[in-house]
């Protein structure tokens, strides 16, 4: 934090210092972005393999099947162990290595200091350390496929005793510890930056919604991750030193009497895991909500409706998200009386979420809506995230959850939240801030092709999961046709799979568009969207140190169409 934050007049750093071991929050943000997007593609590829098995169980995987070692896929047919490790790694990679680093690491790192008018993060070297820890953890996670015993195969939830008996889990635990440490360092950095580094005049109530979302997210990461870290340590002890924190006495595994001393409780892990994993859901959702709010305000050309309501709702979501974790455990054998407590808190947390969505929709009223590519993503977010939220209702209610728990209904619900919600918003954010990152625009036509293709395919993939869940089809089944009650909805699995391949095809224009526009895209000025927030008040891309001189903030973040002004936007830095 000493001299690093001020790069003016510094001599030109070497290539390595500038692009690889950089302490500049913008470079680190882009590093996070590239890495996280690659991990998203990896996680997606794992899912494409699984979808093949789900649609046509027992059929050899075309083209790639022969490439896998015979113990994973004999004769090109996926084995049960391989399916389970694909499932566990898909969840882990998507959540911990894909969406969170993209939403927080990439967008937060790049935009938070810019939006508050700071030259850099409070602790730039710590920031670099977070990225490298994250990359190390991610690569270790991926490498577990190549290790003896293979990758973890106990689901991303890693419920013991299965996770202690199964091979491959130790590497998972160690890489989780690295990823958690990275997140902790990152969130400390974000919070200190937001508390201490704001430009003069940038009071808390003048912060853009996106900054608030990042602050709440940081608090969630800071306080929710350590319990998982501790729980992971205990699981490492169970696996490596044969303690029995999670192992009860007298287990007989495949005919062998277990020799551990026993006395442990598997439900303890579930509590500690979900204490993290529920706030984690809001970590996945809040930053994208912030992105949507920014895009909507910018493209309706009017202030957000209920800025304070949105912010207060975000804070209350943050607080409540710590108190609802056991709604993932209604049927876990936990005390049924305790379930009632979590039922009530779960219903309470839906209130601020509905308030945010309502505010965002009311923001459209009276606007002059520009249907730009990022705006399409933000608008699609609203109803699709709405579906995700609404389908959470029968899952959050104890009684209906008895039947729907662990069925495809759950899968549909959280993929609507995370994919058509978070990922859609994050993609929209890419189109919105791309001019800031590279000084060039992305191609609009390709963007629209990507948008419509992705949205239709996403609905096609996840929509069929609701009827499947209602029919009672369980998740995590290697061969869904082995259970009679799944047979009638098996055609829906085929539909889902076909759309999943379609979704993959529609990502190709995006990838091409991204890299092509980076070098060849149409050049833009500093503020191509005529936006009001601080990140648009510095050059594109911003130099090291961001602002020529410390900006001074005069008003709130969304002063669009102020009466009596020539232009329809009034930047936060404009003196009058």
């Amino acid at each position: 934090m000493s001299g690093d934050s001020n790069g003016h007049g510094a001599h030109e750093p070497s290539f390595w210092r500038k692009y690889v071991f950089s302490v500049d929050h913008k470079v680190i943000g882009l590093q996070y972005m590239m890495t996280a997007m690659s991990f998203l593609m990896v996680g997606f590829a794992l899912m494409l393999l699984m979808r093949w098995q789900l649609a046509w169980p027992g059929a050899p995987i075309p083209f790639f099947g022969r490439l896998f070692p015979p113990d994973l896929a004999p004769n090109g047919v996926m084995s049960g162990e391989f399916y389970n490790s694909l499932g566990a790694m898909h969840g882990t990679i998507m959540v911990f290595l894909g969406v969170v680093p993209l939403a927080v690491g990439a967008y937060g790192n790049y935009l938070l200091p810019l939006q508050i008018g700071a030259p850099d993060m409070a602790f730039p070297r710590l920031n670099m350390a977070s990225y490298w820890l994250f990359l190390g953890g991610g690569l270790l996670m991926l490498s577990s496929f190549m290790m003896p015993g293979g990758a973890a195969q106990s689901g991303w939830t890693s419920y013991p005793p299965l996770s202690i008996i199964n091979p491959g889990q130790t590497v998972w635990l160690f890489s989780m510890v690295l990823i958690i440490t990275s997140s902790l360092l990152g969130s400390i950095n974000f919070l200190v930056t937001a508390m201490n580094m704001r430009a003069p005049g940038m009071s808390l109530w003048r912060l853009p919604v996106f900054c608030w979302a990042q602050m709440v997210t940081s608090v969630l990461l800071l306080l929710a991750f350590p319990p998982l870290e501790a729980a992971a340590f205990l699981q490492v002890m169970d696996r490596v030193f044969h303690t029995s924190f999670y192992m009860p006495k007298g287990l007989v595994v495949l005919g062998h009497v277990s020799t551990v001393s026993g006395g442990g409780q598997p439900l303890l892990w579930e509590h500690l895991f979900w204490f993290l994993a529920h706030p984690e859901v809001y970590v996945l959702v809040l930053p994208p909500m912030g992105i949507v709010a920014e895009i909507i305000a910018n493209n309706t050309r009017k202030p957000l409706h209920g800025y304070k309501t949105i912010v207060v709702s975000m804070i209350s979501i943050g607080v409540m998200s710590f108190l609802v974790w056991a709604h993932h455990m209604f049927i876990s054998g936990m005390s049924p009386a305790l379930s009632n407590f979590f039922l009530v808190t779960t219903m309470i947390i839906s209130v601020p979420s509905v308030a945010i969505l309502t505010c965002l929709i009311f923001s459209l009223k009276g606007g002059s809506i520009r249907f730009t590519t990022p705006m399409l993503y933000a608008l699609a977010f609203l109803p699709l995230f709405g579906i995700g939220g609404l389908t959470g209702l029968p899952l959050g209610l104890t009684v209906t959850d008895i039947y729907l728990h662990d069925t495809y209904y759950v899968i549909g619900h959280f993929h609507f939240v995370v994919v058509t919600g978070s990922i859609l918003a994050l993609l929209g954010g890419t189109y919105h801030w791309f001019p800031k990152w590279f000084g060039r625009k992305m191609n609009d036509t390709l963007g629209k092709v990507h948008f419509w293709g992705s949205v239709v395919c996403m609905i096609g993939v996840f929509g069929p999961m609701f009827p499947m869940g209602l029919a009672g089809a369980s998740r995590r089944l290697y061969d869904p046709t082995a259970q009679v009650h799944n047979l009638i909805v098996q055609p829906l699995n085929v539909v889902s799979t076909v759309f999943a391949y379609g979704l993959f095809l529609f990502q190709l224009p995006f990838i091409w568009n991204f890299f092509h526009s980076m070098f060849r895209g149409e050049k833009t000025e500093e503020n191509p969207w005529h936006a009001t927030t601080l990140e648009w008040a510095c050059p594109s891309p911003p130099p090291h140190g961001n602002f020529d001189k410390t900006p001074r903030v005069h008003r709130g973040p969304y002063e669009y169409s102020a009466p009596g002004r020539k232009t329809d936007y009034w930047m936060q830095t404009d003196p009058a």
């Binding site: 049960g80 399916y83 389970n84 689901g155 419920y159 005793p161 299965l162 007989v252 595994v253 062998h256 009497v257 598997p266 050309r301 009017k302 957000l304 409706h305 209920g306 800025y307 304070k308 049927i331 049924p336 009632n340 039922l343 219903m347 209130v351 509905v354 308030a355 009311f362 459209l364 009223k365 009276g366 002059s368 809506i369 520009r370 609203l382 109803p383 709405g386 609404l390 209702l393 104890t398 009684v399 209906t400 039947y403 728990h405 662990d406 209602l470 029919a471 009672g472 369980s474 089944l477 290697y478 082995a482 259970q483 009679v484 009650h485 909805v489 669009y560 169409s561 009466p563 329809d568």
Partner: protein, 285 residues
Amino acid sequence: MNIYGWGLPVAASTYAQKIDFGIWLIHAAMIAIFVLWGIFFTYLLVKYRKRDGVPAVRDDHDETPAKISVPDSFSKFPFAQILYKHQGELKSLAPDLIVMLFEVGLIVFYAVPVWSRIKMQMPDKKDAVEIRVEAEQFGWNVRYPGPDGKFGRTKPELVHFSNPIGLDRTDPASADDVVVGNELRLPLGKPALIELTSKDVIHDFFVPEFRIKQDIVPGMEIPLWIQPTRVGHYELACAQLCGFGHSLMRGDVYVQSPADFSAWLKSRAAAAPAAPKPVKPSEDF
């Protein structure tokens, strides 16, 4: 009548209809909310699309409340002034209020009573068929106490492929215990009290037709009850990832008339081995 179809499977237990009621009610509400909301959303998108020469109009209530000027007619009522100034926020909370009332109703009149009925009020042992279900990778061991109504002792060391639950046949109570694999038989109309245990990892007892699902945690004995209302052949599936053979872990559930059920139980009890067998330690397995 087909057991399975689009939508929910057939309802075959006393509480199945209560659960179905909740599922359909919530879905009706969800669809209503979504449709109304979608219509409003589409209307806004069409009405306020960008048109040349039509600027965006700021709503007064987007301003901070302090800046909003209140009409004179409100001057006598300070509370009304506050409401007027905070109109913006209140408007955005209105849909919330409706959703909240709906949820409170659901909790108070539906979720809490039905939940405690299903999970917290077990039938008396006198009126019920007692069954123990022990799950393992990857199968179900179902045990009935036999004519003496008592479950015998089990020991983990005795587990053997011919004795999957490690029943100690030297215990007199266990002599007539009936153990069947992957098959659960229940009499129609009589509550069954099932104790769930697991030998190795977490499993889940799921019978879609009964609308019941309960994790089975090793180290715990979790009670569960079912009162079947329909004779038929259903499916018992594991619903919690339990290893590579998870999807193969299934069993058959037969709901029979009480007479058929006791006849079956008698025949099985008669077939149970009477004398204790020498059992090898499991390491040789």
